[in-house]
């Protein structure tokens, strides 16, 4: 078992670097598509303002993209550096989508992004447009494969445990690719990215209109952002609901924790809108509840009950006991591969092997666990309820706010009254909100998966590397310092570019940025 400090520090480091990386990803996803749309309008109409818009938003996209690429490498490397046992245990399945992401998606976007910036004079208008679309396509494929990998962590299908190699191996790769959890997460996450891109364009444009600057560009940008953002915000909420349904089928503990549902709700289950979850006391104080809604979200019916935390813990205890049988049989198989009796026992209980591993925290032997230890391990399957409960509610609230914002923007733009001052102020102030929603969403998805790295298969505390804690302290401190410095520089440059704004339709083929930035001082 790895040092418990290494586990906590590695989790902290992975969480921080993932949330940092996730500051750049949604904007890349959304802006890449918005750029492609704007440039398509330019190619179709020949109006140069649309090219200027593509270039201006492209500048901001470029600064953001460089950070996304750079911080993305950290994510991939950490599986090996900090989660070595995880890499060994599930690399056979988990590695494949990551590698295919590189082959199919990342190469595409990263190779063509250079031409997006440097190819304006070297390519025909249509040629450049194709390049821009390929970049957008690459970003979106990239998200698809990453979420197939992540979806497998949430709902590990198509894999079996191999007793010779002591790890999970692919049984059916099609199941891994067409994992329903992965598909829902993909659409939900890219939609969240589109919302982020749309809010970014909307907010910065609103700022310009409030200041009375760059009006032609800002108005057109807002129009694009309004319709794109409306479609995206509707999709993000609908597909988020779809995720809820899929979680109801597959990750019941996560759903119960998000809803702070301590006891099983008899059908039709009601939904707690707000309340104060108390993990110790296992109850939710001051709960405001709406009947029927939970049942509809989780089961798409009003006749099925929704399982509560305490009942799920009882179920986990049963699975731990069954897993202990599998674990014992596994030990016998390791002595003698040909032991047919042990093989039969193992095969009958292998689906619970992961639950037995939860006991490693209490007894390294696993098979000698006492009832108290089984109960404690079963209790460990409950994630921290209150942060999930609140994160989820703020995220959903923001989702509905975005729908309202974009509906308003859409209506105002249709009536050509986008320059309503109150609306502009709200739109500008909304700038940071999609990031808040995206980070909370990440937390709900991954915090809600605890205590597992692979749901039901491998506990987080076993997944870490056997490295000295001092190494992880060193890298964690290094990342915090280094990333903070980069964040300051990145924000400074973004603000500078935004403050200066686009050049008026210049006769020169492109705008000398370093000159304009300096001139803007």
């Amino acid at each position: 078992m790895p040092d418990i400090d290494v586990v906590s520090l590695s989790r902290l480091q992975f969480g921080l670097t993932a949330m940092y990386h996730f500051l750049f990803v949604p904007l890349t996803l959304g802006l890449s598509l918005l750029l492609a749309i704007m440039e398509s309008v330019y190619v179709m109409t020949g109006r140069t303002i649309w090219r200027d818009m593509t270039k201006f938003w492209g500048l901001l996209f470029g600064i953001n993209f460089a950070m996304g690429v750079a911080t993305g490498i950290t994510m991939e490397f950490q599986f090996g550096t900090n989660w070595a046992y995880y890499s060994h245990y599930v690399g056979d399945i988990f590695g494949a989508p990551l590698a295919i992401e590189g082959l199919m998606a990342f190469f595409l976007e990263a190779t063509f992004i250079g031409l997006f910036f440097f190819g304006w004079n070297r390519l025909s208008a249509v040629g450049h447009l194709v390049v821009t679309w390929l970049v957008a396509l690459g970003s979106n494929f990239s998200a698809l494969w990453i979420l197939i990998a992540n979806g497998w962590m949430q709902h590990p299908v198509g894999a079996t445990f191999n007793t010779d190699t002591m790890r999970m191996e692919v049984a059916n790769f099609a199941d891994v690719i067409f994992n329903p959890v992965a598909q829902d997460k993909f659409v939900h996450t890219v939609s969240a990215g589109y919302v982020t891109g749309a809010v970014f364009v909307l907010a910065v444009s609103a700022l310009y209109l409030l200041q009375g600057r760059h009006k032609a560009l800002a108005r057109r940008s807002m129009t694009v952002a309004a319709s794109f953002g409306l479609a995206a915000s509707l999709s993000v909420v609908v597909l988020g609901d779809e995720s809820g349904y899929t979680a109801g089928q597959n990750q019941r503990m996560k759903l119960a924790a998000i809803e702070a549902m301590w006891e099983t709700e008899p059908a039709p289950a009601s939904f707690t809108v707000i309340g104060f979850p108390d993990q110790e006391g296992q109850r939710t104080n001051y709960a405001v509840r709406i009947p029927y809604v939970m049942g509809l979200i989780a089961t798409r019916s009003i006749s099925e009950p929704v399982m509560g935390i305490n009942q799920l813990v009882e179920g986990a205890a049963d699975r731990i006991r069954s897993g202990m049988v599998a674990y014992e049989a596994l030990q016998r198989l390791r002595q003698d591969r040909g032991d047919a009796d042990a093989r039969a026992t193992f095969d009958a209980h292998v689906q619970d092997l992961g639950y037995a591993l939860l006991l490693k925290r209490y007894t390294p032997l696993v098979t000698d666990a006492t009832d108290a230890q089984v109960a404690a391990a079963a209790r460990d399957t409950v994630p921290r309820v209150a942060p999930l409960f609140w994160s989820f509610r703020v995220m959903v609230g923001l989702g509905f706010f975005f729908i309202a914002l974009f509906t308003t923007a859409f209506v105002l733009s249709a009536r050509r009254r986008l320059e309503h001052p109150l609306f502009l102020k709200v739109a500008a102030a909304a700038l940071p909100l999609p990031w808040v929603a995206a980070e909370l969403g990440w937390y709900v998805a991954e915090g809600g998966r605890q205590p597992w790295t692979i749901d039901g298969i491998l506990p987080t505390f076993l997944s870490a590397s056997s490295v000295p804690a001092s190494n992880v302290w060193f890298s964690l401190a290094g990342f915090i310092l280094f990333y903070s410095a980069l964040a300051v520089i990145e924000l400074y440059l973004m603000v500078k570019v935004i403050r200066h704004g686009p050049l008026a339709s210049a006769p020169a083929p492109s705008a000398p940025l370093h000159a304009v930035v300096t001139a803007g001082e």
């Binding site: 991939e76 890499s87 590695g95 590698a99 595409l108």
Partner: protein
């Protein structure tokens, strides 16, 4: 259907292709960054140099990401062992690899001298550190590193960071640095004109001499003083991927064994020598474009030499040789290797095709006057 043994051999070869691809494509980026203070005397010089890699570094960096992804998917035990074992070294490489792209992007965004000098330094660090660290890593592969597996196949690395910085490994680090400097100088000779190109051509002979001298020294050191490893139990090339099912012994001269058994494999190190010498000659003859190809071949020869020497080992363990990772016991399952092979066969040709197209669109040297007249289109 391909059998497990063939699949493993193919993935061993593909691992080589990806590492060599990374060394060739990202190698010239690293070399250009390392040469910034030597060849770039003015800010404009340095901007010209940076802009030769400006539009392509993102794509080049993906070779590393794909290489790591492929190790994860095809050789998960190697991924777990090497990345966690070389923990601090990996952290340093990461910082350097983040610094470099960010440097390219951010440097030209402001005009201040201090700002640009700071990024110049960052870029040099971002070029030199990964080149040296990757070389050091290969140097340690050749010597074996201290790690072992327990019966759950949890790997524990027992050496520290400074143990990696032993004299032989540092020598390999300098081989790697000399190699990317040669490669980067040739690239600059192709992609710039006038004085910078002339200076770059001037660097090539020195880089070639240094590379070949250090490479030969490393070879002699292996022949004379570094024990190789050999599998002493019966080979089971299609057995389960469990490193604890074999026995291994340290054996003097084992790293030269493959060259005796398969004399044709001498072609790999020979390619390193021939490629480097041809590069020198071609640059002198003013054929820099061809020289870039021979320089790439030299890179392939040098990187490939390590792979051929240690085959079938991937990462030997010095403290518990039986835990060593080999081609026969560190791979993914046959199903995963097959799926990944199909994916590689579909996408690698596509990647090579569109990368070639992008380089074609960007053909021609970066000129100082382009940057002065149209600064905004450049870094």
């Amino acid at each position: 259907m391909l059998d497990y043994e063939t699949l493993r051999l193919l993935w061993w070869a593909l691992l080589g292709v990806l590492l060599i691809g990374f060394a060739i494509m990202d190698g010239f980026d690293l070399g250009v960054a390392a040469l910034l203070p030597i060849l770039g005397r003015t800010d404009l010089d340095r901007r010209v140099m940076i802009n030769t890699v400006g539009p392509v570094w993102e794509g080049n960096q993906v070779w590393l990401i794909l290489g790591a992804g492929a190790v994860f998917a095809a050789w998960p035990a190697l991924y777990a062992t090497a990345f966690s074992g070389f923990y601090i070294a990996m952290f340093l490489v990461l910082c350097a690899l983040i610094l470099r792209p960010v440097g390219f992007k951010f440097r030209s965004k402001l005009d201040g001298t201090a700002w640009r000098h700071a990024w110049d330094t960052a870029l040099v660090v971002g070029g030199v550190v990964p080149a040296v660290v990757f070389g050091v890593a290969f140097g340690n592969v050749l010597q074996g590193v201290p790690f072992h597996f327990d019966t759950d196949l949890r790997v524990t690395y027992t050496g520290g960071f400074f143990g990696l910085l032993n004299p032989f490994a540092l020598l390999c680090g300098f081989v790697s640095l000399a190699m990317v400097v040669m490669h980067g100088a040739v690239y600059l000779a192709v992609k710039t004109d006038g004085e910078i190109a002339a200076r770059a051509r001037g660097v090539v002979p020195w880089a070639v001499i240094l590379l070949l001298a250090l490479f030969s020294l490393a070879g002699a050191w292996i022949a004379a003083g570094i024990d190789g490893y050999a599998i002493t139990s019966a080979l089971v090339p299609d057995g389960p991927s469990n490193p604890l099912m074999k026995s291994v012994a340290r054996a003097p001269g084992a790293w030269l064994e493959n060259y005796h058994r398969f004399p044709i494999s001498v072609a790999v190190p020979a390619l390193g020598y021939a490629g480097a010498l041809a590069t020198w000659g071609l640059v002198r003859a003013g054929r820099s474009g061809l020289a870039f190809i021979t320089s790439s071949l030299a890179v392939a020869g040098v990187v490939g030499t390590v792979g051929v020497s240690v085959f079938p080992f991937l990462l030997p363990s010095s403290s518990n040789p039986a835990s060593s990772l080999t081609v026969w016991d560190a791979s993914s399952s046959p199903a995963t290797l097959r799926i990944m092979l199909v994916a590689a066969l579909i996408f690698m040709p596509l990647i090579l095709a569109y990368t070639a197209w992008v380089f074609r669109v960007l053909r021609g040297p970066v000129r100082a006057r382009d940057i002065t007249t149209d600064g905004g289109a450049f870094y």
